[in-house]
């Protein structure tokens, strides 16, 4: 693809020339020569510290070096996790959490996609609303929690709103930037076939902006997951956050730790799933820069 070559060389241009030649030669050797064994080593190296921590922690708990009321052994935490999985409470709470997360993201992300595309297409609309959005963006969404509780009580509404607010900005910013980065030439191709405005949007602009939009969505889903934790900690009758609060009230550190593990694992799994989806949807792009 000659266009990609051009942008690549243009981007590398002056900065690339300034770079010290010996440094780039060293980089070349490292990446070409010892990539496979080095990667394996690095992979294993990453596990050394966590495994060591778990072993030390378990030993300390067993020999009574730490107060197991405040820091139960890892085996205890996993036992608690297993029990919750077996009696089904883990899955029910997880389902509630995921439902909130999806609902909040769908509302916030959907609005952001709409407004981002609108402001990307129309300068007037951007002038009208972008300043307001940028101002609101600087409000930390966690700071909204007391306000939302006072306005909407402790039900589902304030939780979903908080997640929606958190999801909004990354999707908005990336959609706007994505639409603005669309190659003008592609739009002219659509125009030459007398595409309507809707056709231009659906068949040219949105597909061309898709890589950036997906980046925004992935980022937003991550932030929405954080917002979910905060929302469930403020008060909830269900969800992983609720389980965590139960653990805190009963001074069950094992439950608190188990719920944190669930939050972290679920978040990681979602990120992996999204990356896979992204790779599939953008295969026309990944196939090029793959490996």
């Amino acid at each position: 693809m000659p266009d990609a070559d051009k942008t690549a060389s243009a981007a590398a241009g002056p900065a690339g020339n300034r770079r010290d030649p010996s440094a780039s030669a060293m980089q070349g050797n490292r990446s070409a020569g010892a990539r496979a064994p080095a990667a394996l080593l690095r992979h294993l190296a990453g596990f050394i510290i966590p495994v060591l921590i778990v072993v030390v922690w378990e030993t300390a708990a067993r020999i009574g070096a730490v107060n197991t009321l405040l820091l139960p052994a890892p085996s205890r935490v996993f036992l608690t996790l297993g029990q919750a999985a077996l009696d089904g409470s883990l899955w029910i709470n997880l389902a509630y959490s995921i439902r909130r997360w999806i609902l909040g993201f769908a509302i916030g992300g959907g609005l952001a996609l709409f407004l981002g595309a609108l402001n990307g297409l129309s300068l007037f609309s951007e002038r009208l609303s972008d300043t307001t959005v940028q101002m609101l963006r600087t409000v930390p969404f966690m700071g909204l929690t007391p306000l939302l509780v006072m306005w909407f009580g402790l039900g589902e509404t304030p939780k979903v709103i908080l997640i929606a607010v958190a999801s909004f900005f990354p999707v908005y910013i990336n959609t706007l930037a994505g639409v603005r980065n669309v190659n003008r030439g592609f739009v002219e191709v659509g125009q030459s076939f007398e595409f309507s405005k809707a056709e231009l949007l659906l068949r040219v602009i949105l597909p061309a902006a898709l890589p950036e939009i997906l980046t925004g969505i992935r980022y937003a889903l991550g932030i929405a997951w954080l917002a979910l934790v905060i929302a469930e900690l403020m008060a909830a009758q269900s969800g992983i956050g609720y389980w965590l609060m139960q653990g805190r009230e009963a001074v069950r550190v094992d439950v608190v730790l188990a719920s944190l593990i669930v939050f972290s694992l679920a978040g990681k799994l979602m990120d992996v799933a999204l990356r896979l989806i992204e790779a599939r949807v953008l295969h026309w792009r990944n196939a090029f820069s793959g490996s």
């Binding site: 000659p2 191709v189 076939f193 040219v204 597909p207 026309w284 196939a287 090029f288």
Partner: protein, 246 residues
């Protein structure tokens, strides 16, 4: 209908800092149906501006342009466009790109895409993505895409300008055959003198500052043209002279 495309007293000024730049100054040109006309000239002579005006992508001109008897007020499906960059949509396959401007059912689309891939010599590449195609192949797909809705006029803006000399000559020959078999009126912009003589029935020579037509040459050579023949050289020499190149 002896004037298929009619450009009448067209001027175009681009507003810049201070005074504007006159890209086209009182240009008039008639193109016959089925004709192959090449606009040739140095950069800044307004040849691309003229082509974009005929296409309906640049409507800031004064004067009048008629295509098929109708004034040009915007892009039209009866005028196919090929640009210097192939501008293939990277998320679509070669087949998807060719079908991009087609308004037809899936069966009809598939048939037309197959037909066009044969026409441009890319049979079997239907499912290839743009990044898998060479520059010449991408430009062949772009030609097929422009021809898909069966336009009566094909407008080409330096389509082979970014290709190497060998690929360029191959594509010139392919285009000549396509033009003859499809009987599509073609307006072709280039800054390459040899290319203009290899392709054009008429070569419209343009000069810069302000952009205007300085000369129109009827190239009285049969196709396929022998690029190393004496007659070809004579045309080349006279063109070189008209640009002040010796």
């Amino acid at each position: 209908m002896s004037q298929f495309v009619s450009v009448r007293n067209v001027s175009r000024t681009f507003e810049g800092r201070g005074q504007g730049v006159t890209a086209l100054s009182d240009v008039s040109l008639d193109i016959r149906p089925g004709e192959f006309v090449v606009l040739v000239g140095p950069s800044g002579c307004g040849k691309s501006t003229l082509l974009r005006s005929i296409a309906g992508l640049d409507l800031g001109f004064s004067g009048e342009i008629l295509a098929g008897g109708q004034p040009v007020v915007g892009p039209n499906r009866s005028r196919g466009l090929v640009f210097q960059e192939a501008r293939l949509l990277p998320w679509l396959t070669a087949g998807g790109n060719i079908a991009f401007g087609l308004r037809a059912g899936p069966e009809e689309k598939r048939a037309r895409v197959g037909e066009l891939l044969d026409l441009v010599g890319l049979a079997g590449f239907e499912d290839a993505y743009p990044h898998q195609l060479s520059g010449g192949m991408a430009q062949r797909v772009a030609i097929a895409r422009a021809l898909a809705p069966r336009p009566t006029i094909l407008l080409m803006d330096e389509p082979f300008g970014a290709l190497d000399a060998f690929t360029r000559i191959k594509l010139q020959d392919a285009l000549r055959d396509i033009w003859r078999s499809q009987n599509v009126t073609t307006v072709f912009v280039t800054h390459d003198i040899d290319e203009s003589l290899a392709l054009g029935q008429r070569v419209v020579v343009m000069s810069a500052r302000p952009g205007r037509i300085s000369q129109v040459i009827e190239v009285d050579l049969p196709y396929p043209r022998d690029r190393v023949s004496e007659a070809f050289s004579r045309y080349r020499n006279s063109l070189m002279n008209s640009f002040g190149l010796h």
